[in-house]
Symmetry: C2
């Protein structure tokens, strides 16, 4: 006999829209003193005093940004929050509140949404942000998640994309290329599974890469570390759309150029070995793979002693005058113009 999986399926119609919001958000506790009223009125009410408010929003679409074939719903919920918090931290701000809206087709039972919200709740817990609103609705096809994140920073602490100055150092947090390779590994296993469902994949050699893809962490710690080190970046940007394209954004907004040294790009050993296995160029993967929720920033050269040797930071190169252009200086010392090959949801595959 087959297991009756229907036991744990509650249709969304049974609850209705308001019942659903109540049900999904009832375990969320308010942690921020700035949250006066969260879910449950026409709007949330926040009370900020003498600080700037930052607001960012991102939309994740099934089949475009995620594939539920290898993305567990709890991870998806967690990641949807990280994607937005990363943008708040890229302003050198502290994340305080989020709203989460979801559109789902009837194929998802309540239990699936509970999993999704378990991931959202975990993210809120670990990053100390409050869920203060949202909307749930049906969709004709698939799942879509829209998150808006709010944060605060003292006016003088906010860091824009536009403040880089020639001779500033170009610094990145963490290491690059892991999330993209994690996706390649998961896609390969999915194909193997399609052919032979009995095959038990051993993902342990790729654990780091898979985690970078399925459970990325936004770099709250970097904002805190920079404050502790008394280093205020001159400019900063989230590079989840790809290092290469985001450096170009930063250069454009700051009206500068840059030299980026290929041999400085931080790569985890697993990234190097897996690139060899997949016959991929690790620099290209690091430059254009995307989905690494790391921060790229520029600092005055005088701050070098504070950055140097810190395992969280890698100096990738430096900022130049605009006229000098934006270049990758390759290992064999040739100058290759940086091009935006970042992730673009409208590009055909």
């Amino acid at each position: 006999m087959f297991e009756n999986k229907e036991n744990s399926r509650t249709s969304l119609e049974e609850l209705g829209e308001f019942g659903l919001i109540d049900h999904l958000t009832r375990h969320f506790k308010i942690k921020q003193s700035t949250t006066v009223k969260g879910v449950g009125d026409d709007a949330a009410v926040l009370r900020f005093k003498d600080v700037d408010t930052v607001v960012t929003t991102d939309l994740l679409v099934e089949g475009v940004h995620f594939d539920l074939g290898y993305m567990p719903l709890k991870h998806l919920g967690y990641k949807a929050v990280m994607v937005n918090l990363s943008d708040v931290y890229a302003m050198n701000a502290r994340a305080t509140q989020i709203t989460v809206s979801i559109a789902v087709s009837n194929r998802f039972p309540l239990e699936a949404l509970e999993e999704l919200y378990a991931g959202i709740a975990l993210a809120c817990e670990l990053y100390k942000v409050d869920l203060v609103g949202g909307d749930t609705t049906s969709s004709n096809k698939g799942m879509l998640i829209s998150v808006t994140a709010i944060g605060t920073a003292k006016k003088e602490d906010v860091v824009y994309r536009s403040g880089a100055k020639p001779n500033d150092l170009l610094v990145v947090s963490g290491d690059l290329g892991g999330a993209y390779l994690g996706l390649q590994v998961l896609k390969r296993e999915q194909e193997v599974f399609a052919v032979n469902p009995k095959n038990q994949p051993d993902l342990s050699p790729y654990a780091y890469l898979v985690e970078r893809q399925l459970k990325p962490e936004a770099r709250k710690d970097i904002v805190e570390l920079l404050e502790k080190l008394d280093v205020r970046p001159t400019s900063m940007i989230d590079i989840s759309d790809g290092l290469s394209s985001e450096i170009l954004h930063l250069c454009k907004e700051s009206n500068v150029g840059c030299f980026l040294y290929e041999d400085k790009i931080p790569l985890d050993p697993t990234v190097i070995s897996t690139c060899e296995e997949f016959n991929l160029d690790s620099s290209m993967v690091a430059l254009n793979g995307g989905e690494d929720y790391e921060l790229l920033f520029t600092v005055d050269q005088k701050k070098f002693p504070k950055i140097k040797g810190n395992p969280n930071f890698t100096v990738l190169g430096h900022v130049t005058e605009k006229e000098e252009g934006a270049y990758l200086i390759s290992r064999n010392n040739s100058k290759i113009p940086l091009t935006a090959q970042g992730w673009d949801s409208f590009a055909s595959d």
Copy 2:
């Protein structure tokens, strides 16, 4: 020969994601002094001093909340903003900023999105709100719009759903049922058109209803009027999900009951005549039709002289003790329990 309509079709792929955001938002001008940085960085930066911030978000899905068969894209953009501003006003707050995210399938050319954003721009212009961020992405099917609206109010001015007291008056702005009937008229014309495309519909007798459906206005004026009259509601709620269900929300949050008098429900003459034509009960339409972006609020009885006779307000009934329940008092004086038959996107049709 056929007209070559392809002349005015630009595919989204040509622009790419960042080009698209730039292109769509380049004409938006910052109007609010609280907007420090709008579109163009990782997050928008807002500067509020000594006021509470309200945040609300709504998701509109093609085929669920709108049908492009009768909803022009410009109107859709306008309405998507109104839906959210209405929630800000329902907090007795001023709307200041919005973010707009859209997911669209490749079937939409750039010109379609320009139409949509023309409607968003018009709404921003008329309601003096700044577009400060958003996301554009592709979808597998149809269009989805996610708007987040931000507003401000002095701490003591914010009005929640929870402040209604027994004996308070129950007041509604505008008149009810028009938007629902407008939709019925549009659906009927769509069916007629499907059978006979040469038929030129005469919508002029229904102009008011169609406008209520296609170009609703959020009641910014009501918030301003209440301030001018020095009337601070004890509770307030947006009733676009249906008068009946929203009264129940308000009663639940305020821990009270209410008596709502059927003969007090404000109906436009076109609503009455069109209900007769469609063989619909006008009270049911007004109570449960939804999509009327009006505000329901409660005020202390002492404020009655200020409300009375103002064409923007109708006293529908009064608040009672919770134990008395929530009732519609019908024209023939029978007590009918109010039930939530508001709009629910998960309900089967």
